[in-house]
């Protein structure tokens, strides 16, 4: 009698493995009886169920083995998975095939930085969305992004508010130890701005910004990448023509008042706060650079997901429900009221409300109405991850060749997000790699290296 192999079920069962026939005596393809097999692998039944389901789907789609083999060899397993997921409700079928399991862990700590980007995961607390999923969550205000990173690596937090490039960077070991992290959802889209000090009211053309000092909240942030992109599009080299410092958002306002910095690309409410304090004005909303750009994310370590799949699913449902509520403009004033107190953002309610409703004072004497100034679209598009990676490469944060797609698919859990959105009866958009237009230039996620090379100003030149 042969010993049971020690390889994981996934490897043996992988329906996307081109070289493995799917129809064998024992379904795992090894030389032992099915009873033995089931006894040994009962613990991983859920995963198996998923794979069986996908395998039978594959068999139904490609009854001829050689056709299936050629298809998989031609496009690769991940693309095949994404392609099939886009035409078949794979996630929903899998969800139906398994019952909701018991929660592995109910007392959780979730970190956040007090900015409006974290709106869904903060509001889920006072509005009881976590509780509804049977979770007892503490949302813990944290002093800075480096500390969020450290507390995730220390496992003090079970899940956290991230800047969306952070999980990519940590998973690659850029700026920290290499620990696999995942993005479950994007927290917010848009919602940032370039704020300049009042004395620069007459310098609205970025070409006049030579020698300016700017602040961003963290190096691996959309703020940094967008600011660099913006000034570079206007012919300035962000590394030599201007200075970019890492400064926590509340200090940005204080530094702007003191004249230490000329401006910043920061998260709200600190753009609006500068207007409220009458020390700065909103030069441009980041929505005008890339409408619908991602900013912050909600995620956790891959280890946490593997150890607590049901808890993670419950968290997913709570945050997605909150995101759907935050998306609806008619809820925004209520949300502003709920997240403004000391316990959460600790900001004047009118400031938060101006950010979320999009009816705001711009610091130049005008009241502007931009309903999508801040939005909450939870889809963790993998093409967004690819864009962030191209910018990390462009500005020299990561060196060498990058397997863009592999990292994006590993870190951004698009399929899971779609599956959970379906479970919650939310509208799920199709596809995995939509293209984006950033300052008039189309980004094609299929050709990231060409994109990196296409810029006149970059560290690659």
């Amino acid at each position: 009698m042969s010993k049971l192999p020690t390889t994981t079920t996934t490897a043996r069962h992988d329906p996307y493995d081109a070289d493995r026939p799917l129809m064998l005596r024992c379904s795992c393809g090894q030389n032992h009886s099915p009873q033995e097999h089931h006894a040994a692998l009962a613990a991983q039944a859920e995963e198996m169920a998923n794979n069986h389901l996908e395998a039978s789907l594959m068999k139904a789609l490609f009854p001829v083995d050689s056709v299936r083999r050629n298809f998989l060899k031609a496009v690769g397993a991940n693309t095949a998975r994404a392609a099939i997921a886009s035409v078949l409700p794979l996630g929903a079928l899998q969800a139906m095939a398994q019952d909701k399991g018991p929660l592995e862990k109910t007392n959780l700590k979730i970190g956040f930085i007090p900015i409006t980007c974290a709106t869904p995961l903060i509001m889920a607390h006072p509005l009881g969305f976590y509780q509804k999923q049977g979770l007892n969550v503490d949302v813990v205000k944290t002093a800075g992004w480096a500390l969020i990173r450290d507390k995730m690596l220390n496992k003090e937090y079970d899940a956290t508010h991230f800047l969306s490039p952070m999980p990519l960077a940590i998973s690659m070991g850029a700026g920290s130890n290499q620990v696999p992290m995942n993005v479950a959802t994007i927290q917010n889209t848009n919602g940032q701005a370039i704020t300049l000090a009042n004395k620069h009211k007459d310098k609205r053309d970025p070409k006049m910004w030579k020698g300016f000092k700017f602040a961003v909240p963290f190096e691996y942030s959309m703020h940094n990448f967008l600011l660099r992109y913006y000034v570079a599009e206007h012919g300035l080299n962000p590394d030599t023509d201007i200075q970019i410092r890492v400064v926590p958002p509340p200090e940005m306002v204080a530094n702007l008042r003191a004249g230490n910095i000329d401006g910043y690309l920061g998260p709200d409410p600190f753009n609006q706060r500068a207007v409220y304090e009458e020390i700065g004005f909103l030069h441009v909303l980041t929505k005008d650079l890339w409408n619908g750009h991602p900013c912050c994310a909600f995620g956790t370590s891959t280890e946490f997901i593997q150890k607590n799949p049901n808890t993670f699913a419950a968290l997913y449902r709570a945050v997605l429900t909150a995101a759907a509520m935050a998306r609806d403009p008619k809820n925004r004033e209520l949300i502003a009221k709920v997240i403004s107190p000391t316990q959460y953002l600790n900001q004047p309610e009118t400031v938060v409300a101006q950010v979320l409703t999009g009816k705001f004072a711009d610091g130049l004497g005008n009241i502007r109405t931009v309903p999508d100034r801040a939005d909450f679209d939870p889809m963790p598009w993998q093409s967004m991850a690819v864009w962030m990676l191209t910018q990390m490469k462009r500005w020299g944060y990561v060196k060498g060749d990058i397997n863009y797609k592999q990292i994006a698919e590993k870190v951004f859990l698009l399929t899971d997000a779609k599956k959970h959105m379906k479970e919650l009866d939310q509208k799920v958009p199709d596809g995995a790699y939509p293209k984006f237009t950033i300052m008039g230039k189309v980004f094609d996620p299929a050709r990231p290296d060409d994109y990196v090379k296409s810029f006149a100003i970059s560290k690659q030149a």
Binding site: P114, D138, V139, V140, K141, T142, A143, G144, A146, L147, D150, K151, L153, N154, K155, E156, P250, E251, V253, A254, R273, V275, Y276, E277, E278, P341, T342, Q343, Y344, N346, Q347, P348, T350, V351, Q354, F360, A361, G365, N366, I367
Partner: protein
């Protein structure tokens, strides 16, 4: 004579306080000319968006003494409320800070006093340890923090560690100095009486060095209290330092000033306690 001096000093102190508050009041008087007359509806709405509701004073900016008093009363009248992990009453925050300081300081005592004793008794060890002490002594708590977070992997333990590492040096140096400078004749007497080394340490050296050791502890305690605010601002979570950081986040100067006052008063009380202890152990010839 001394009592009349005390009365005079108190009067001068009060005068300084009144003058300061008066100047403060004068400096923060509301500026005239912000009426709503002649403004369009849109301009009025714009003013509201800047928090300048016509007719109501804008909170923010540098506070007036009246606003300050209001804030102090607000905190003092409700010192122990608990609204979850991010919003607690001032006494709870203080208790967290004092707990951390106490623990770090205690650990520092446990290490520094015996080690200082050994160093003080042995000129060889004294010279051997000296370079390390001199290098480690001037390092700021903020420099230790990232290292602590990385290696200890626990933010509250890191806070305690930073207190420990910063408050250990004055105690160590003072203990060593106190032990090394015990009067020769007392040691000689002990030698003639053939007392055991342990008895000598506890009955002769310790009482003689106690005032110096306590001076070291007193300096250490004030350093620990200095350090806690910086440490908690960085680590966040709870404590008076976190309170300052949270209110800074809100750019609320009133609350920051209040916290500064609280930190000062508590620091003074801690120092008074150690001053009293010092009096008790000092031997007057």
């Amino acid at each position: 004579m001394t009592s009349s001096l005390n009365v005079k000093a108190t009067l001068v102190s009060l005068l300084i306080l009144v003058l300061t508050v008066g100047l403060w009041y004068a400096a923060t008087l509301p500026r005239a000319g912000s009426g709503t007359a002649g403004m369009t509806a849109e301009q009025i709405e714009y003013q509201k968006m800047l928090g300048k509701d016509p007719g109501a004073a804008k909170t923010g900016g540098f506070p007036t003494p009246a606003q300050m008093g209001e804030t102090i009363w607000k905190h003092v009248s409700n010192p122990v409320y608990d609204n979850g992990p991010n919003d607690k009453g001032i006494l709870i925050q203080l208790a967290y800070s004092l707990g951390r300081v106490g623990l770090g300081f205690l650990l520092a005592c446990i290490v520094a006093v015996p080690l200082g004793f050994v160093i003080g008794m042995s000129p060889l060890l004294s010279r051997a340890f000296d370079p390390f002490i001199q290098v480690l002594k001037p390092i700021s708590p903020l420099a230790w923090m990232p290292l602590a977070l990385y290696t200890i992997k626990d933010s509250s333990a890191s806070g305690v560690f930073v207190i420990f590492i910063c408050s250990i040096w004055p105690m160590l140096i003072n203990t060593a100095f106190g032990v090394a400078s015990v009067r020769r004749d007392w040691l000689n007497v002990a030698l003639t009486l053939e007392v055991s080394p342990l008895r000598k340490a506890f009955r002769v050296i310790l009482p003689a060095a106690a005032p110096t050791i306590l001076t070291g502890m007193r300096i250490s305690m004030s350093i620990a209290w200095l350090v806690i605010v910086a440490a908690e601002m960085l680590v966040g979570g709870t404590g008076i330092g976190y309170f300052v950081w949270n209110e800074w986040n809100n750019l609320s100067l009133t609350n920051v000033i209040f916290a500064i006052g609280v930190i000062g008063v508590v620091g003074m009380l801690l120092d008074l306690v150690f001053g009293q202890l010092q009096k008790w152990v000092t031997y007057v010839e």
